[in-house]
Symmetry: C2
Subunit: 144 residues, 2 copies
């Protein structure tokens, strides 16, 4: 899996943000994570690379990355405070309940459903959000 981090840093720079050690540490942590991380988890992980990092910078950087649509919140039972890299184009999430690993997939077969709903309820449909959860092959093999 190629790292997204260099591209993210370029995009931050292209939008007028400076490249700092704090941002590099946060970006590298989030861009390469196979699972959703909370701000605190990002902080703890990124501090291994850059111990002077402050939690505030994690929040600030996550907000920038959100604005640039490079990360997305993941919605889970207990809340929606964890962030994942956002894949190109329209994609949905498949998340392992046990280990948290996320897969991305295209699911464009929803169009017919939208047309039907638009007719039935008179809604102008603007957005949708589909998230699937289960057990990844490795966790399934381990039982539970």
């Amino acid at each position: 899996m190629p790292s997204n981090a260099p591209s993210w840093l370029e995009q931050l720079q292209a939008h007028g943000y400076r490249l700092t050690e704090a941002r590099r540490a946060v970006v590298e942590t989030v861009a390469n994570s196979p699972r959703a991380l909370t701000p605190l988890e990002v902080y703890e992980t990124a501090r291994r690379r850059y111990p002077a990092l402050g939690l505030v910078s994690v929040y600030r950087t996550l907000e920038m990355l959100s604005e640039l649509h490079l990360v997305q919140r993941v919605h889970q039972e207990d809340g929606c405070n964890a962030y994942l890299p956002r894949a190109e184009g329209h994609q949905h999430l498949l998340i392992c309940e046990r280990c948290g690993r996320a897969e991305y997939f295209q699911g464009d077969d929803l169009e017919t459903l939208f047309v039907q709903l638009a007719q039935q309820y008179g809604y102008q449909i603007r957005a949708h959000w589909l998230q699937i959860s289960g057990l990844c092959p490795r966790c399934y093999a381990q039982g539970l």
Copy 2:
């Protein structure tokens, strides 16, 4: 639309919870709401019926209703702190971006997608969550 409140109160009682004025006020507020309410909104609304109500009781009652699967959190841009009644059986949500009104619909045409994903990624699929948003007919008619 029939009120869910009596049934909810019965279910609370059936699970050993007592029926109190605080619970009645919260249950009637949430059970009859056409849109998702935050704990604070529940508090403000329910206090019109029962002014002595404390915010703490709102949180406690919402937690009970969650455990009994009578309410669900709604996931939105800014967070997922708002609650809606949960409909019978498996249902998805269609929510108006403007006024917040929620419609419930069945969407069981996702089975083929799940089978495909299970094969492709080796996942044991356990749950899914589909939420659609847009403008309801009334809000759409008002422009924006």
